[in-house]
Amino acid sequence: MRSPQFSSFVILVVLLVVFGVADGNFLSPLNISNMMAFLPELGIIALGMTLLLTAGEFDLSVGAVFGLAPVVVMLLAQNAGVDIGVALLAGLLLCISIGTINGVIVTKIGISSFLVTLSMLLIVRGAALYITQGFPLKSWDQPGFFVTLLAGSFNIGAFRFYTSLWWFIGLSLLAVYVLRYAKLGNWISAIGSNRNAAVARGVPADAVKIWLFIATSVLAGLAGMISAFRISAASPVAGTGYELEVIAMVVVGGTALTGGRGTILGTIVGALMLRAIRNGIVLVGVPGLAYNIFVGVIILAMLILHALLQKNAARS
């Protein structure tokens, strides 16, 4: 019961109870529906980030990709008259290229992923601002198959859910499977734990890392599309700061920033927790401008807790 996911889970429950008691609206169907609408967008990116962190790398460009992908897709569809399916395919290829460039530079040239993806953040965000001249695109008013697929909504009783929740659940199950039960997961953990040992056993470490960079970029782009379709608009500044929020979700869940130890369940708990905190502290009346202070303090407290548990486990 010392596992990091479990302690995060306990804290999540405590937070939910505290917020629920402090403000009656917190657990209302409307508020829960609200949280569930936002949750998948960051949560989906966090799944990719968890795998990447477990392999010992990370990606700061996800927030920028979240912004650029829908901008490119909607520009193509609105201004160039490209079919939306084709435009989405172009967006997918764009994300794959960004992930590939990140991965190849990190593994083949050997520059740390911090520096490579920080530069990529600037390039991608800059590109989004430049091609839109800094203005949000005009709103997307064509419902259709893809809009329903990514951002359709449905009601269950008093709750309103988006199809993005299904995407998040499906991708979470896939990620749990890959990391815990598949051969690939064994490789990912081994690479993050001791890369040379993994390579000495014939594990194609560079290829695995490149694919993880690609997966993370694609997931960031998917999340960006979901968000843009949900609000029927794409903005070049969408997703600003998401990279840090996502990394916070992942490490709060118990995945080690240093690689080797990753937990998807922990990340899901972490995503729920950050969502609940952001939502709850507004409801209980913390002034909007002060709420990053609370978020920061809670994240720090979680990390201290994990570190202490880790130390205890090592001692026993």
């Binding site: 499977y177 039960y181 081994a190 734990s193 040379n196």
Partner: protein
């Protein structure tokens, strides 16, 4: 006559201006233990990394059972039956013993799923437990325990059992008894003998000459990237070997001192 298993001819390897291997040639036969000796920086680890596919060689040829091969990756070396236990790296501490034992060669179900194939966890655990028993690690180890909770000696034993597991033709051990206690050291030496008796060839790198005389059939000495001597253990003695390693004529010195 014993069959030749591995032959290296004129291997060269430089790291920038450092010529780590100048012109290394050697032959390894079936069922023999060859000790590779030499001072720090002589090029021993570089030589065995070249054979095990950690990096490509600049020049030279490698023959396995008489056939010329090119070893471009660790996977290719393993597929040729060459298993290596490296001096500096061997296990992933965050993985369990069982997962480490089968790293890179995981037993899976639904093989057609490729890297997404599910691990055969039951088989993984059973095979790992059986292996741990066979290697006779003093303490009883749980196959699910994380490697980060093991002692240095236990880790070494795990790495060795892994090489044993895949019953390679050639097993290369780079300073396997470093940091080991007395009992564990004897375990390793016993393992080397067992492997030889089972017909495998062993290339053993060590700085402990006593171990050499205990298990090796032949000695190869390297100095500054070159192989400078080759002797059968039966025809030599400790002092001669020591002087070969350092390059100083110790036996002459000893005579003068008397």
């Amino acid at each position: 006559m014993m069959q030749e298993v591995l032959r290296l001819q004129g291997l060269q390897k430089s790291f920038g201006s450092v010529r780590a291997l100048k012109n290394a040639s050697l032959t390894l036969k079936e069922g023999e233990v060859v000790a590779l000796l030499g001072d720090n920086g002589a090029g021993k680890s570089t030589l065995i990394k070249a054979i095990s596919g950690v990096f490509p060689i600049d020049r030279g040829d490698i023959y396995v059972r008489g056939e010329k091969v090119s070893i471009r990756s660790t996977r290719e070396a393993m597929d040729l039956g060459i298993e290596t236990i490296h001096q500096d790296t061997s296990l992933a501490p965050d993985l369990s013993i069982a997962r480490n034992l089968f790293l890179g060669r995981e037993p899976v179900n639904l093989k057609w799923l490729g890297v997404f194939a599910p691990l055969d966890l039951a088989k993984l655990r059973d095979a790992a437990s059986a292996l741990l028993k066979r290697v006779g690690i003093s303490k009883k180890l749980d196959a699910d325990a994380l490697v980060s909770t093991l002692s240095g000696g236990e880790r070494q034993s795990i790495a060795i059992s892994r090489a044993m597991q895949f019953a390679a033709k050639v097993i290369i051990l780079d300073e396997p008894t470093n940091n080991l206690g007395v009992e564990e050291t004897h375990g390793v030496l016993r393992f080397v003998k067992e492997m030889r008796d089972a017909g495998h060839s062993v290339l053993l790198i060590t700085h402990n000459i006593h171990h050499v005389f205990e298990v090796a059939d032949r000695i190869i000495v390297m100095r500054r990237g070159e192989i400078v001597a080759e002797q059968t253990v039966a025809d030599t003695d400790l002092l001669t070997v020591e002087s070969l390693i350092t390059g100083a004529d110790l036996s002459a010195l000893m005579k003068r001192a008397q």
